[in-house]
């Protein structure tokens, strides 16, 4: 008798498992139909790196070498010369070896002027590895093409239709609840 109850229990549990499997279809499709639907990637996500050029055509980068020093994977190469007219440096060369990059965004954290930013262009697969040895022109182009980008100092920025760079509104910033609460406090004070 014991055997029969055990067998019945086992059959019941198998049935439960099969019911779970068949009912799972109710949860719907979770598939994102890449490449027909592009995934929504948050701006903080570091899929690739870019250099930002201001609307007037000047580099944001001040060649301070902070990113080169902080890079854990040691893929950033910067060459600079002293500016003959006045202070500062002239950027001779800015290479990021995107092949060996860890995409940890440490350079983005370190940049004092938010010149190097994270972008969400993940479609970097290639037949030829040399296309990923990014030089400054490549990184500038990435920055020009990006719809939005992120750096911790300035938050999420985007380029509007006139080509000007604007900072996204506070609600879209990944900056945190603290800032939102501060904003709310200010508004309530007023």
């Amino acid at each position: 008798m014991n055997l029969i109850t055990e067998a019945a229990k086992a059959l019941r549990d198998i049935g439960k498992g099969m019911a779970v499997v068949s009912r799972a279809a109710e949860k719907g499709k979770h598939t994102n139909l890449y490449p027909f639907e592009m995934p929504e990637i948050p701006p903080v996500s570091c899929q690739s790196l870019a250099l930002i050029i201001e609307a007037d055509g000047t580099d944001r980068c001040v060649s301070c070498l902070a990113c080169e020093k902080v890079c854990p994977s040691q893929v950033i190469t910067i060459e600079r010369t002293r500016n003959p007219e006045g202070k500062g440096f002239v950027l001779e060369r800015f290479d990021i070896d995107l092949v060996n990059c860890m995409y940890c965004a440490a350079c983005v954290e370190a940049c004092p002027v938010s010149a190097i930013v994270t972008i969400q262009d993940f479609e970097l697969s290639t037949y030829d590895l040399q296309t990923l040895k990014a030089d400054k022109a490549f990184l500038d182009e990435q920055g020009r093409r990006a719809k939005q980008w992120y750096s911790p100092k300035l938050g999420v920025e985007y380029r509007n239709e006139q080509g000007e760079i604007q900072v996204a509104p506070l609600e879209q910033q990944p900056g945190g609840e603290a800032e939102l609460l501060k904003q709310a406090d200010k508004e309530s004070d007023n």
């Binding site: 490449p35 092949v99 030829d128």
Partner: protein
Amino acid sequence: MGLLGSDRRPDNIILGKLDDLINLARSRSMWPLTFGIACCAIEMMNSSAPRYDADRFGFFYRNTPRQADIMIVSGTVNKKMGKRVRTLYEQMAEPKWVISMGACANQGGPFRQGYSVVEGVDKIVPVDVYVPGCPPRPEALLQAMLLLRDKVADPEKRYIPGTLMEADFDVLAEPGKDGRSL
């Protein structure tokens, strides 16, 4: 691989068309080898998960190299593993392709300075598509698979048998022999 096994496009129009058909079929039915090495292997498994579903395109993971068409090298290949990677590649039946996934497989990535790491799996096996990233998103791997698919289906880039690359076995030699600092 053409039916005639030649690297030239057959003059015969029927065989040429048949070749194109076979290439099309090959490109629509690429079975990767279940071959995970490191971090990227989790994202490789993820590419067949519900969110990404590589099965949509007919990518159907097989466990044995004999039945697989693509090898996805997903992770750091060190000198000890490099020999096995080469063996696995040789065990796969022609035609076969290789996707190098992630920074480590591409050129050693963050670990390239280490004494035991092979700086790029393309020194051991011929790589068709490289995926950068550490680890790449599953979508990036899907993109690489689709790039490879286009390459296979492209009649101008037909697979040529007998192009087995000679592996650079010096990179698999004992540590310290290549004079790297770390």
